[in-house]
Amino acid sequence: MLAQEMNSEIVASSGWFLDHAWVIPIIPAVAFVLIIFFGKKLPMKGSELGVFSMLASLVFAGGAAWQWIQRVNSVVDVAHDAVKEGAYHAAPYVEPVIREWTWWQSGGFHFGIGQHIDGLALTLLVVVAFISSLVQIYSLEYLRGDRRYTHFFAALTLFSAGMLCMVLAPNMVQLILGWEIMGLCSFMLIGHWWEEEANSRAALKAFFTVRVGDVGLLIGTGILFFSANSWTQENLGVSGFNISGLSAWAMSGEASSSALTWGAVALFIACIGKSGQFPLHTWLPDAMAGPTPVSSLLHSSTMVVAGVFLVARVYPVFWEGMKIGDTNINFIVLIGGITIVIAALLAFVQNDIKKVLAYSTVSQLGYMMMGLGAGAWLPAVFHIFTHAFFKACLFLAAGSVSHSGSHHSFDMKKDMGGLAKKMPITATTWIISTLALTGVFPLAGFFSKDEIIDNVGYGGYNAFMIVGLSGAFLTAAYMTRATYLTFFGKARGAAAGEHHDEHDAHADAHDSHDAHAAHDAHDSHDAHGADHGPHESPKLITVPLMILAALALVAGLSNATPFGESWERFKKYVEPSAEYVAIESHMATGPGEAIIVPQQNTTAEGGEGKYDKGCAVVAPEAGMACYFPTVKHAPFKWSKAALSLIIVAVGLISSWMFCVQYYTRRNKRLVGLTERSKVLRGGYAFLWNKYYLDALYEKVIVRSIAHPIAAAAAWVNQNILDGIVNGVGKVSRRVAGWVYRNIDQRVVDGAVNGSGAAARGTGGALRPVQSGKVNQYGALLFAAAAIGALILVIINT
């Protein structure tokens, strides 16, 4: 058969960078160790190691991405020739470059470590390495003179190593490893200035909230491993942790649907925690207590997309487990949709510029999740890509404003306003990124966000398309408000140069207090320019801003659907093809090669009808496997794009007019509206208190769970335990005397001490016994274990 011949003929190109992509996370990991041990002795206190390691990673990631493009091209070209001959489908399967070594083994289990390089992994690798490099360069200036400068760079570098390790992961175990390293670094970096209690509380909150979700990651991995392992071992020769193995298993049609559903739900709970989705989004705005570069890198562009990445990575599991192919509402799309709206609404009542951006991030992550939940895999991944640039830029611009414009204040209402003239570069980059975020044509956000909205509707989730459009309106409005308050209108507070002296006096007054030492330390570097008011930031800050803003302008063009298929490079290189792959040829080729599996055209683009064949619709035959479901792509229509552009424009303009009226002209009809109208006041309070979710978690859930348990324990201690002990004491009062006199004396090897011991022992047994003794706890433990075993025996017989 011709197909068989073709299999052996077409071998995709590979390359050194692709085969050795595992080096990418190793570089920052080594740099981290070096910074920790030698950082303080280096001329730049270790920061140079961090920056260089990130640049080296970027070079490696870029090289790997370039070779991946060559690889895809080498396959696609052959395939196109074949198509001309009329035999084959034009979307060939390009095998990911998977290499795995035994990391550790225990009993019969082998745990691998290695790399799984495909378009998705490379996208994230490049983005993470790129943003990390820029943020580290930015931090050189932003944190100059900080007390824990070296530790900051060490943690930042370790974070990058963790994220890169997770992105590369060929199996769930390595993914969990990277995931947890990121969680740890997030904790360390949020609490970087831990001397202030609010910061350490925010760090703890972030850690514990994400932890709640992480339980889901472990449970989900366990469920999937135990249900998939035998299938993957038998068919693919890999363990049930292997990501491509899991994908093939999920699409094989032989997977138990309940295992898939519960595994997907458990994994998604982890994503809810990590990616700040409703209802676990509360940690993310608080995480802004960390230094601004941290917010920019971890809590907007990279770490928080880990949850989205996880869904995209094992997409077949979610596809099958959540039944994404149907148009019924599923868990992912529902959570994503809720998150978009509630986070966008919260952004309106924030006065802290970073919190506005934080809620904006939550809302954008909601877009990505909604896209994934509705089958719009590619737009969601593309949105990760574009969002990273403009959101990182927005955060860094906010940092620049606070660094040079508002004297370390992030309060838009008190300390900002009118900064556009004083800080032209910061303002320009901010505005470009804002327009990109709101989705103005032809900036980056338009191509990704609009695609998500479009594809969600095309996938049959019409209600969620409306949610997406209203989210776009809200985004435009709250970003305009933030822009206006920061850069336009009248200068207030520190922006007008007022706050300065007061703050210095404040700092002087507290100089002797250790609690404020760190804050002063991170302030102190500003002393060199303490005399003048707002000014433009130095080059180390503005250059990263300009690079990011430039990318916010053009990044969208890498998948510009409106301009035709030749512009859809992202789709060509990143999206895995939904093709049946012959396992035999696939496994035999090993890493570093690719095959085209010639299948007759299984998918038909265009039209909203359901597919009647193709991966995820019809289970693969024996000996074949699917690695990605057949997803639909909405054909671009200018009419739909115009609708969303009009909505965005309305949002921008109406919000601008409102801001001018409200904040500058103090229009009588608008000012004080919340005091006058009960409905508005209620709504405002509801938003101001963040839907009372924090109150719910802390007051209701923690209290209702922890307090009764504590009370019950105290009660048991006081009544039952003491009662038992007293009862035993009383009962054994006579028994003990008898036992001591008659048995113990024979055991005791001296009759002289015996009577005394008996007397004292009897007295001891008589005395009321108190709780708090180790032995009593031990007795309770063993007795409970014995009774538990007894009950089990009784039940089983």
């Binding site: 324990a713 105290a714 201690n717 108190q770 709780s771 708090g772 003794k773 180790v774 032995n775 706890y777 031990g778 007795a779 063993f782």
Partner: protein, 99 residues
């Protein structure tokens, strides 16, 4: 030889050890009782090793011996510390955990 006889010996030693842990006041004696418990577990492991014709039981018995040595070392160090601070090692007097 029967499986039961070894397992029963282990069970008897275990329960004597449990009694010792519960009844003794002197911290050193409690540590000794814990050693009894660990040995009873080892007997079970080796019995099952023979029963299944596998060497794994031997391996883990060795691990347990090593862990027990570490435990005794740390335990006695703690006892010494307690003794230095309070001049007694009676567990009855250590009731800071009282709720």
């Amino acid at each position: 030889m029967l499986t039961t006889q070894f397992l029963l010996l282990g069970a008897v030693l275990f329960c004597i050890g449990v009694y010792g842990v519960l009844a003794r006041k002197n911290a050193v004696m409690v540590l000794m009782s814990i050693e009894l418990i660990l040995n009873s577990v080892n007997i079970n492991l080796l019995a099952f090793s023979v029963r299944h014709g596998s060497v794994d039981g031997n391996t883990f018995a060795l691990y347990i011996i090593a862990i027990a040595a570490a435990e005794v070392g740390v335990g006695l160090a703690m006892v010494l510390l307690i003794y230095r601070n309070r001049r007694t090692i009676a567990l009855d007097d250590l009731s800071e955990m009282k709720g």
